[in-house]
Symmetry: C2
Subunit: 200 residues, 2 copies
């Protein structure tokens, strides 16, 4: 693509660095901003800069938070004895949306991934150990992605915790409402191996 | 969606105002920026603000430009007697990419759209008339979208220019390499009505 203006080109390049944004989409976004007044553009840039300057992380669960302690960790009505280990903010939001979980969280901020050069020390595993030691927690639940990285991370953490605390993981299997014939073989195979007692 | 932080929520809302960006994509973009250092985020915001502060428009064709006169209008080797009328920057880039056009452009900056409250005075039609009057232009080519808005705009402009200058429009029809059976009826119908002499 050849641009008539270096300024437009630079803005397109910057937008195209965002995940899932190609050059054509980036150009569409830039043209949209060009048609706007100065104020909405300043609002956008202001709120992006605030991400870097004003954002705090909860000192307990390491989730993004506006205060020293996030709303979930500060909530006395929640069960602080159960800690759900997740990768990031989105997982917390997804689980909270189910309204089925009343425990607290621990946000790792990533998964162990040797391919990407992310080791155990690059994510918040040590703070999890420390937290379990100083708290009354009696169960940790792994709610990590069903990928090589998620499995590796869960395995690494659980090895160290073996015998000290109850360790569980969210169940895997055929989705509710899912047809067996459309499920992939690995999921279906695992759900047969991991069969559970039928409750009447 | 319930966010654990107002700052994240605000950034997601601002991103989601961009065209084609939903809340989930916006959140993904925000989480991406969170993982970045401060510098790339500042580069992004800086280049967006520059769009509003440093950008100029070519005084001749009204295309976005870094200088008073854009590269195309300043090019003495181009044919300044033929003016191609387009909606915006993207159309100029698309036509330039074909390497088939050696004339100059006029960027309207929009199309007449009564539904959206955009009238003839909201886009750069008057500057086009003035430009045709003071220049030696002998042909204008409409290269506008084949939509109600594009047709309305071309009709409005051509009415006033009738008899003063040669007015043409880019050809419409079945795309090169296109199969007849997959073409929509309107395109196919119009391409039959608008048939041209067959050249051997």
């Amino acid at each position: 693509m050849e641009f008539p203006s270096k300024i437009v080109e630079e803005a397109v390049i910057q937008f195209a660095k965002l995940p899932g944004i190609g050059k054509k989409t980036a150009l569409r976004m830039v043209l949209h901003l060009l048609k706007q007044d100065k104020v909405p553009v300043e609002q956008l840039t202001h709120s992006l800069l605030k991400l870097k300057t004003d954002l705090k992380f909860c000192s307990e669960c390491h989730n993004i938070s506006d205060s020293e302690l996030c709303n979930i960790c500060a909530d006395k009505n929640r069960n602080h004895d159960v800690i759900c280990v997740v990768e990031d903010l989105r997982d917390v939001m997804a689980i909270e949306n189910t309204s089925q979980y009343r425990g607290v969280y621990h946000v790792l901020g990533g998964l162990i991934s040797p391919v990407d050069g992310i080791g155990p020390d690059d994510i918040r595993i040590l703070p999890l150990y420390e937290r379990i030691e100083r708290s009354n927690a009696n169960e940790i639940i792994f709610a990590l992605a069903a990928t090589m990285e998620g499995d590796t991370t869960a395995f690494y953490i659980s090895k160290k915790l073996k015998g000290t605390i109850k360790v569980t993981a969210i169940s895997r299997g055929i989705a509710i409402g899912g047809e067996l014939e459309y499920a992939d073989e690995i999921t279906l195979g695992r759900s047969i191996l991991g069969r559970i007692p039928y409750k009447i």
